[in-house]
Amino acid sequence: MPHDVIIVGAGITGAAIARELSRYKLKVLLLEKEAEPAFGVSKSNSGIIHAGTQNPPSSLKGWLCVEGNRLLREELAADLGLNFVQCGQLIVIFDEADLPELEAIKAEGTALGVKGMALVDRAWLDANEPNLGPGVKAALLVPSAGIISPYRYVYALVENAVKNGVELKTSSKVIGVNRIEKGGFYVEAGGQVYTTKFLVNAAGLHADEISGLAGAPSFKITPRKGEEYLLDRKREHIANRIIFPLPTKTSKGILIIKTSDGNPMIGPTAHDADDKADLSTTDAGLQEVLDGARRMMPSISKSDIIAYFAGLRPVSGKDFIIRHEDAAPGLVNAAGIQSPGLTSAPAIAVMVADLLRKHGLPLEPKEQFHRLRPRPAHLFQVPLEETRRLIEKNPAYGDIVCRCELVSAQEVRDAVKRGAVTLDGVKFRTRAQAGRCHGGFCTTRILKIMQEELGFPVTALTKRGPGSELIKEERK
């Protein structure tokens, strides 16, 4: 039986679309080339749920950002058991002469529907953000911005979509798409050929290639690299909000970012690149990020850094490309999803569903749609009393595997049961190995639990999929 919709790419965009379509009586398949969802751009970003400011009111991404922010805040965070924190943001200026620019951002934001913005002076900043450097003169406060763990957002959407009947196939790279004369596509992936009426392209950095394969080579994706540097959890309270400088043409600048897991982060850089696979960080990037962050908060030092990574924004022109391609009837692109794509995803999903409907896909609601997803237990998120209750219910919550981030054996097992097949997958779901020792103490224990749960030999376990095997040989 052919599928109604095949979605290519299980990043935040594909995951949100899958979950949105899972409300309806449809046969939906989600194809992902990597070993797990969220291993593309959606794993390496700032984790900010933007308010919508700093986008022109005429832009698609501006509107989708404001709406995506609202959907997460008002519905998804509670429904999917997500740890969304609405901490708000500040856009700071170093020169009173820039006040009109803040006013302009405020006016544009208001036009887009961003609520509650206010200009704040140095006295307000002293009282509310005492670690800001003396160079900061004033700021625009935007209360609706917040933070989330980007990969756990993706996992929650995918888990809920699967619960509602979507089929997920990982390690399934789409390598061929053929249009069927009477309508629809043959899609070749992971050694199989699938048939579908509609094809949704949410392939991130590779969306141009997929659109081309399907017969609509209408755009090109260029990666724009961003390096980010995580600080020790001890520095959790250096800022109470996300701190932005005044934006430049190509980027929102170097930010001080709270993260929902505690460790603050500084970054990202924004430099056009040509290699879609190059996730390396550089000495120059580190310097740029440190300089940018220290300008706002001079007490940040290089020795606070405990981890770093780079992400590539999939850029095609200035805005998102979300459209039905008339050159390839049945193909809907959700491409060029640069920042604020993490924020916009739920709104993009609604828009894509609507495009599918307009082009002939009937959207008939299911009798039973499971809107809710139980929140997985994480010791690091709960007070000690709740920990006590968890341990009393299940002793394995008292068996600590990762000491830096307080992760128990039970959480690691749960992560594998919920779909983790790689060491990174366990890390993203549980935070085990994400702390200051970087798995120095817990990696062997985690690998042993994975061996037990998955039944693989240790030599088959990987960091992030085939090719990233961790152990070359086992001797007994």
């Binding site: 850094i305 990574f309 006590r388 009393e392 394995a396 008292g398 020792c437 120095g440």
Partner: protein, 324 residues
Amino acid sequence: MKERELVIVGGGPAGMAAALAARAAGVEDVLLLERDQHLGGILNQCIHPGFGLHHFKEELTGPEYADRFVRLVKEDPAIEVSLRSFVVKLTGDRQLSFLRPGALEEVKARAVILATGCRERTREMIAIPGSRPAGVYPAGLAQKMVNMEGWIPGKEAVIVGSGDIGLIMARRMALEGVSVKAVVEIQKTSRGLVRNVVQCLEDYGIPLYFQHRISRIHGRDRVEKVDVVRVDDEFRDIPGSGFEISCDTVLVSVGLIPENELLEMAGAEMDKKTNTPASAEVNQTSLPGIFACGNAFKVYDLADSVTRDSELAGRAAAKYLGRL
């Protein structure tokens, strides 16, 4: 809340020596909490000889050395050992919370000795640029994999840092048939023992590059190669001096940091640079009745010195408790 006379956190050589010394000095009730499933701490993975030359006047391996203390601790009924017990909280007035399979426990101690050891500095702390593939391990983790699990992490390795753990792991990997291509050290000399430089590198023909650093790690999924560059006395790269080494594994051995998160949580004054208690006197902290010893107090080269100083911590606690 149950009250105990002396609670010791960490069952490595430091915690065990402190427990035995406290008992010898008259303390009647000791609770020894260890996170792992066995006592011995990091010594369990140090299967090479070279321990005990001072204390026992003979050459033992790490596990043999630990075992001498484990036996004495187990023979003493007044020392209660609680394994798989992870201390998550310590207050300035010496209340401890610990998790173990099946329970979250709380005790109030009249005195506390922290013997929580060290963790390793990581690749991230020295910010080696490049990609983040599989195959980059802290050297101590590789030591645990090889010695305790029989897992060989790679086939061709480069080692960053020439401290003792780096040197010992260079030899260990070579003995397991791994081709160790280089040890890269940014300083002019090795921080390790001279005997380790000779026995671990020279005897195995492993090149040691002083005043060099790894300037980039390459490889998407697994390490493929590293860029190495020579640096001057101010650690600046010397242009044109770069070269590549192909390898699938990078072991990072760039020093240890005392694990003192509990002490910091309790509100003790800390030396931010070394992550140790700010104290002029051995084993003391700024909090009355809370002591620190072994690698938690400062990073030691030799387990024998850990034992010697940790015995002093046991006695200091006994004195504080009015037993001496």
